[in-house]
């Protein structure tokens, strides 16, 4: 099967990026090397092609009612220009997606979905829409929408070279609609790296111009392009989960650090299943760990306490910032408290690790 290409694909090829298949997309995993791109993001700024992610638009008088029912987060107090992370669940309480909700006006919202879950999100939300016959329209605008992230402590200064709007006073998880040069865009102060930074949405045909401009004006600030490799180490250090890897449709928000996404006071799809689960408490929990013994625990490695198998590693890597191996594991709840020692099977041996609180890394404000 041919891989899908983002509007920025040719630029990655010219930059000699190593391209991989990510959920059916031909994406750059690294340009130079992962560690270098990681440090660039933490100390200066990096630019990421995120065009593969999905964007859905919900418009109409009952758009709010549709999302309020479909999503776990209470949107009643969401202000114009605010971004809210939320979960989209099935009836069993399993996570279809973790997505962000952009409130553009009282009857117009944009949902930003994971690349691999967009179709499932669309079908779930349109199913509710058909059933409830709410007066609103759901549209997949992914193909015409380009997205790039600029992340790192210098991203505001770099972006300021191309935008007249006030970024200084834009709070975290808020967005503005403004021009980048003369290109209409949505700019939100958010990201997936644990650094200050922005996610930029613009017409797919023009996202390349913004990329070029930021690459050019960012040079003096040390800006470099970064691939999915660095994106993965950055998000893991920041304690952020990856959909499809750290959670699946079998996982509920009560088992992963997403309890805060649930607003129990309102009704939403999946709520009754979660209420049932809440009575007994989940049997498994996703936690962070750091390696004490030698080795790097990777996705799929088994976790033990003595001889008893207690779970599995869902994400694991070498942390360039902390200079040690870290990861996330899905464990029996009895073994999930911080400071608990666990053993991870790495090839023929077992290496010791310790459960720690998330995040692994928090930037200084």
């Amino acid at each position: 099967m041919d891989l899908k290409k983002t509007p920025l694909y040719e630029k990655h090829v010219l930059l000699n990026a190593k391209i991989i298949d990510f959920g059916g997309w031909a994406m750059p995993v690294q340009y130079s090397n992962v560690i270098e791109e990681h440090h660039t993001t933490r100390t200066a700024a990096a630019i990421f092609d995120i065009c593969h992610m999905g964007e859905l638009e919900v418009k109409g008088p009952r758009a709010f009612d549709l999302l309020q029912l479909a999503l776990t987060r209470d949107l009643a107090d969401q202000r114009l220009g605010q971004v809210k992370l939320s979960a989209l669940l099935n009836e069993k309480g399993g996570i279809i997606d973790d997505l962000t909700v952009y409130k553009k006006s009282d009857d117009s919202f944009m949902l930003v979905t994971n690349a691999t879950t967009k179709e499932a999100d669309f079908s779930q939300i349109s199913g509710i829409l058909r059933q409830k016959r709410y007066d609103c329209v759901l549209e997949d605008i992914s193909d015409k929408t380009g997205k790039l992230d600029i992340q790192g402590p210098l991203s505001q200064e770099i972006l300021r070279q191309s935008i007249t709007a006030d970024l200084q006073n834009l709070p975290y998880y808020h967005f503005i609609e403004a021009n980048v040069m003369d290109i209409p865009a949505i700019i939100s102060r958010s990201g997936y790296t644990g650094e200050d930074g922005f996610e930029i949405y613009a017409p797919a045909k023009q996202i390349g111009d913004i990329w070029e401009r930021l690459m050019e004006t960012g040079k003096a600030f040390g800006l470099k392009p970064a691939g999915l490799g660095a994106r993965d180490t950055l998000r893991l250090e920041a304690g952020m989960m990856l959909n499809g890897q750290d959670m699946t449709r079998e996982t509920t928000p009560l088992e992963v650090p997403y309890g805060w996404l649930i607003d129990w006071k309102k009704d939403f799809i999946g709520k009754s299943a979660l209420e049932e689960l809440k009575k007994t408490g989940p049997a498994k929990k996703l936690v962070g760990f750091e390696m004490i013994g030698r080795g790097i625990a990777r996705h799929g490695y088994k976790v033990f306490s003595g001889k008893k198998e207690i779970g599995v590693v869902t994400s694991g890597t070498f942390s360039p910032t902390l200079n040690k191996a870290i990861g996330l594991a899905f464990l029996d709840v009895d073994f999930s408290a911080p400071e608990t020692f666990i053993d991870i099977a790495i090839r023929e041996t077992k290496a010791q690790a310790k459960i720690v609180k998330l995040p692994f890394y928090k930037r200084k404000k």
Binding site: V29, Q30, N33, V34, I35, E36, H38, G229, D232, T233, R294, G295, I296, R298, T317, F318, P320, A325, R347
Partner: protein, 132 residues
């Protein structure tokens, strides 16, 4: 660009090098081309001393941030020495794959076996073909 492949040693198709010492022992490592493909090496699992390996068998593991790769024994024999410096500084392989980044020393089980390996010119040809 990778460094030139020294002519004083032999190469496997899996990108390991072997330098015979003339006394039935040899040093083993991965090539500069291999480290370039792996990029930032962050972990090396060395073989145990005394371990007997067969030609083509996995004898060590080299990991980058994103990948886990096996190092195959370019010849059969017994591991007599390992480069323990790699435990603390695995990036030695990135810096000097043909020198300080060596992985192990081996007592060859059958010296004639190394005739199956490539010389520097043949190995260079192989990587040029791979790059294409």
């Amino acid at each position: 660009m990778s460094k030139p492949n020294p002519a004083d040693r032999l190469y496997s198709k899996d990108h390991e090098w072997l330098k015979e010492h003339g006394d039935g022992t040899a040093t083993i490592g991965i090539t500069d081309y291999a480290q370039e493909m792996l990029t930032d090496i962050v972990f090396v699992e060395l073989p145990k001393i005394g371990k007997k390996v067969k030609q083509g068998e996995a004898m060590a593991v080299v990991e980058s941030v994103k990948s886990v790769s096996e190092v195959y024994a370019p010849a059969s024999g017994e591991i007599t020495k390992t480069n323990t410096a790699l435990e603390e500084t695995p990036e030695l392989i990135n810096k000097d794959a043909f020198g300080e980044g060596w992985i192990a020393e081996i007592k060859l089980a059958d010296v004639s076996e190394i005739k199956t390996l490539l010389d520097a010119a043949a190995y260079e040809k192989l990587i040029q073909e791979e790059k294409r």
